[in-house]
Each structure stands twice: as C-alpha cells, then as structure tokens.
Assembly symmetry: C2
Homo-oligomer: 377 residues x 2
Amino acid sequence: MAFSFSLGARDPGSRARRGTLRTSRGTVETPVFMPVGTRATVTGIAPDELTALGASIILANTYHLLLRPGPDQFRRVGGIHSFMRWPGLVLTDSGGYQIFSLPDERTMSEDGARFRSYIDGRFHQLSPESSIQMQTAIGSDIMMVLDECIAATALENAGRAAMERTHRWALRSLAARTNPEQALFAIVQGGLVPSLRQESARFLSEHPFDGFAIGGLAVGDTRAQREDMTAFAADLLPPATPRYLMGVGTPPDLLVAIGCGVDMFDCVIPTRLAWQGTGFTSTGRVRVTRGAHQASDEPLDVACTCSTCRTYTRAYLHHLMKCSEPLGPRLLTIHNLHYYLDLMGQARAAIDAGVYAAFAKQKLYEMDRHEHGEARA
Amino acid sequence: MAFSFSLGARDPGSRARRGTLRTSRGTVETPVFMPVGTRATVTGIAPDELTALGASIILANTYHLLLRPGPDQFRRVGGIHSFMRWPGLVLTDSGGYQIFSLPDERTMSEDGARFRSYIDGRFHQLSPESSIQMQTAIGSDIMMVLDECIAATALENAGRAAMERTHRWALRSLAARTNPEQALFAIVQGGLVPSLRQESARFLSEHPFDGFAIGGLAVGDTRAQREDMTAFAADLLPPATPRYLMGVGTPPDLLVAIGCGVDMFDCVIPTRLAWQGTGFTSTGRVRVTRGAHQASDEPLDVACTCSTCRTYTRAYLHHLMKCSEPLGPRLLTIHNLHYYLDLMGQARAAIDAGVYAAFAKQKLYEMDRHEHGEARA
C-alpha cells in the first residue's frame, strides 16, 4: 500500500486538524511528534521503550547514516527498521540542515554539497539524487528532499537564490525516487520573507509530493517571527497533504503550530535537555541538577504517569546526574518524550472534541506562567 | 528476621556447595554473582532490568556513597533500596579497597583513613566505626568490615601488619554494629602467604561474623596464584557461614572458586567490558567494535536467550558502539550480566545434580579453548 493521508476532525476555533498517515507498515495519528533518532537510535532508549511511550514514528538523519553505518549496511538488512528493530515508521531528513551547519567543511554547488566525513576525513558528495538513493537504502517511510538551508534571517536575495535551488533540487529528488512505497515530502523555504514563502509554496504544490514541510525556521529567528511565519506558511500549503514543521520546537511552539494547521513535528529539545538534566513538567521546566532537588522525595512531576515519575524521586535523578551515571539521562529522556507525546495526545483529543483553541490557550497560559515562575525560583 | 545462611546440596566431586541466604527482604540462592552498582546504580541499567535478568543481590560501595549522595540522603529515605528502587538485596563494600587505590590522596593510621574527596576536595575520615555508621545509613543487607588492603604480592612483614590491623578493625566494626538486621562479614587477609591466611582465618572465625570474605586477591596476583590461594583460604573458613571472594573475577575464576566452596562473588568485569564493547559468549569473548562484526547479522551469541541476543545483531551493536551511542553499552551490559547470572544458575543446577566437577571441567575446557581461538582470530 502506498502512502496516504486522510483528514479527520477540524477544530472550529482554530486551524487545528486531525489526520491519519497510512503506510504498509502502519498508521500514525496526527498531529504527531517524532522523537529524534539521528543515528538509528533515540539516544539511550530501546525501541520497546519508544513503543511503550506511544511513539509511532521517529526521525533519522540521512547525513549521519550515510557516514555511518553507510548505505550497504541498510541494503544488506533491508532497511533501518530491521537494522534497529523499530516496528514503527521512520522519516529521514535529507541531510540539508547538517550540510548547512558545517560551513567550513563543505562546498555547495548546483549539483549538491561536497563535504568531508567527520569520521574518516574522506570526501562525500550529497546531491538531491544521492540523498534519495541513500534514503531509499535506509528504507524510510517518508523521505525528505535535499534542500539548501540558510539562516531564517538571511537577506531576500540570498533567500531567493537558496529557495530557487531548493525548488530545482526538489524536482530532481522527485525524479530520482524509485520506490513508490516511500513517501517524499518537499520543503518550503523563503526565510522570513512572505513573498518568497508564497512563491515557494505555490511552486512546490504544483508537483506530486506526498507532503510539505516548512523549513528554515528555528535557525536564528525569534519566537514571534517563527509563530507568524508558521501561521502564514501553513496556510499556503495544500490542505489535503500533511504539513511538517521541521526542527520545531518547544511545547508552546508545538501548540501554536498545531493551531495553525501543522500536522508533524520533530525536535531534539526533549532528548537534548534530558541529557543536560532538565525535565518538562506540568509546573514548568525542572533542572534536577539544582541543589534544591538534592533532598526532594517528590517525583519529577507529580502529575505525570510515565515510568520515571511513577518510580523515581528527584533526589535519585539528581544523584544520577551528579554522578554522570547514564541511567539519569535515560530516565529523563523517557519522561520528556512522554511529556511531548502525551501533549500531542491531549491536542488530538481536544481537536476531536472541537475545543482545541480553548485547550491551547489554557495550556499556553499555564506554560508561560510556569516558565515565568521557574525563572524567578 | 535476622540474617541466616543454610547449606543445601554438596557436589561429591568437588568442594562446591549450594546455599541460601535469608533476610527479611528476601532470599538469595548461592553460589551467586552480585552485579556491581557502585553509586547506587548498575551503570545504565534500571532495577526492573536487573530483576528480569534474575539478579537477587547487588553490590554498592560505601566510599563512593559516603562522598555522594552522603549519609543524610539514605537516612531520610530509609536506605538504598528505597533510594534506587531496588527490591533485592544489597551488599556494601566498606571502602577499604577504594582507600587502598588512592595512595597519594590519603593517610592511614590505626584510627582509619583520612582522604580528600574527589568531588569537593574536602577531607573525610573513614574508620571502622564510621564505615559501619555509613553502611547502617545505607541500610545494606550485608555490611563489610573496613580492612587494610595491600598488594597480594606484598612482603610478609607488610602483609602481617596489614592483617593484624584488619583484625583489630574487624573487632571494632563488630562492636560498632547497631542494627541486628544487617549482616556483617569479616575479611580474611594475608596476601599470598599461607601462614598469614591461616592465622587470619583462625582469628576471625572465633568471632560472631555472619560470613567471611577472602580479600586481597585479584590485586597484582596471577591466575594460578589466585586459584591456589582461593582453594587454600576457602578451606580455612567455617563451613556453616557464607564465603565471599571479593572482586573476582572472570568466568573461569568463578567456576574454579565455586569448586573450592566459595558462595558469593562480585566483579566489575561484565559491566566494564560491556562499556568497552566486549561481550562474553558461548564461543569466547567478542569485541563488537572489531571490523569483522560490522556486517554481521548474527546475534552477539546465537546460544544466548537474553533480550539483547534475541533482538539485536552484532552489526547494530557495532554501529552503536562506533557512534558512542549509550544504547550500545546498555545492551552489552544486559548481555554480560545475563551471561554471568546464567553461568551461576548453571553452576547451582550442576551442584544440585551432583555433577559440578564434571560441569566445571567441561566449561573451563570450552572457555580456555575459545579464549585461545579468539586470540588467534
């Protein structure tokens, strides 16, 4: 069965919408958050733990997997699901953002990017075609086109050049696809310039992509700029296909974007902050490494039902983090992913109930209040 | 219920014996291997995973827990079991070995050891009495006396002085005990000098310790020296109390020592080697980081039933280790602990069946053959 997307309930008070992604591997209810498993592993977490957390789709990265373990590994075992023993869906980012992040180590041309491996120093070429070939080897359920990323705040001329190249690369990616079972999403660029975003959305939506991503946000922009552009760009996208806001974001970012009609998200924040000792809770962010938690026999979040909060105290998490014991980040990652995935579940329920606008307003109010409170504490 | 030990089956062809440790918290079948949880965590592994592996008792370390999180933490929550959410038994080492391992950072006297904290640079005193006080706060099921460790190969004069001090400290430890629920084991010292070991065993066994450990081995001695002294020292110990060979060892070490009548073991080898990428298998040690395993779709050990071997390939473990992804050491630790705990289960079954001598001979033959084969590969 090829990829399909069907829309469900719509929220009367916002642009929020429910949807279902269907593939031969399984289905994903949207709005959805995708935990980041860059190197074919969500750092420290086993696939059965992701399943228990309710994750249905994860994100992996073409750039990193190209360098290690390389395409032959995936071709031999029949793809990433078999390699990492993950029964859910996988979306692969194309590597465009990683190439963008290594400005001193790569040269860009119309053909693609040439860059040096951080593993063995050898040169690699990543073109729209080779990215699709790699993603085909990985066997992801959703592939992304290679795009040219630039800072969200780039000037209009630079933004136009990158956008136009991204468009040419998107068509080359579409032509390079060989496996109809793997969906392919295009990426709308254009930085913070509305006219470029309009042009990009118009151009890309004329071609048979299975979904559309909003790229180039959360790279130097402010929260207000990001929210305004998300709302503007989401409205430009075809209503019948999934909309994916790449690399975003904080819990408030997600709530706002869902209200703009975005369906899919990925972000390193819940996993990265866990490794730094920070947990998201119903009363704001908690840094368990702070001395205040050293003698706290409370769970990280009294209102949370995750296995970490049902089992361990802040004092024990504090101890593990202070000792650099890897069980600490692992337990915090489980909690933070539960927080994000549970928030998405609440959002879906609110859309189904037709009360998303009020739900999001209340949640955002609580989050802003708690972040403010945390800053004072 | 206070601590008790009852003997079960004996092997007719060796000195191997079955036993049961009983405490108010639960029972432990011996011979037993104790996974090392130095800082109130078996590195990277959650307590429910230890339970699933069949672990019934773990080892924690008084020296490290004294420095962090400190005694107040344990007093507040009622001990280590509550702190780390471990329902099984805990044995605490006294810290003698750690003091011994920091020769430049501590001064030893008859009263005890004075040393500088590696965490905050403050000075701490560890005496026989303060070690028992700390172990009482930790609430371990089995406490160890503070001993003065020296290299196994120390000359007889130095060995005698350390042994005699260890004896005086053992009696001070006994006098300092306040909680009759916590067992207290003495430690037989004497290095590689048989007459000292005899004297140490004779002296200590005249006092009401709940068990006896053989200390000061695996610290500079050869395998042959260790095996000879283990056999010699085990025979000197009272037959009705548990015998614990501290810090030993490799799988062959354990099989030989069980044949000498040793009941309890702890060792960092299975956990430490896991973090270095090495797994114990039915065909010898496997370093999954070696290039030979990069494209291997076999499990780490085809004969193993652990969750790692039932689920993942060597190629994936290789990938995780090469990427320094913490899931790699975690999966290898689960496998290695399964290997050790399963070996102990096999040993207990062989003793029950009265065939331990033949079982150990066959296992040792296979292990030596495989280690030899591995070295050639």
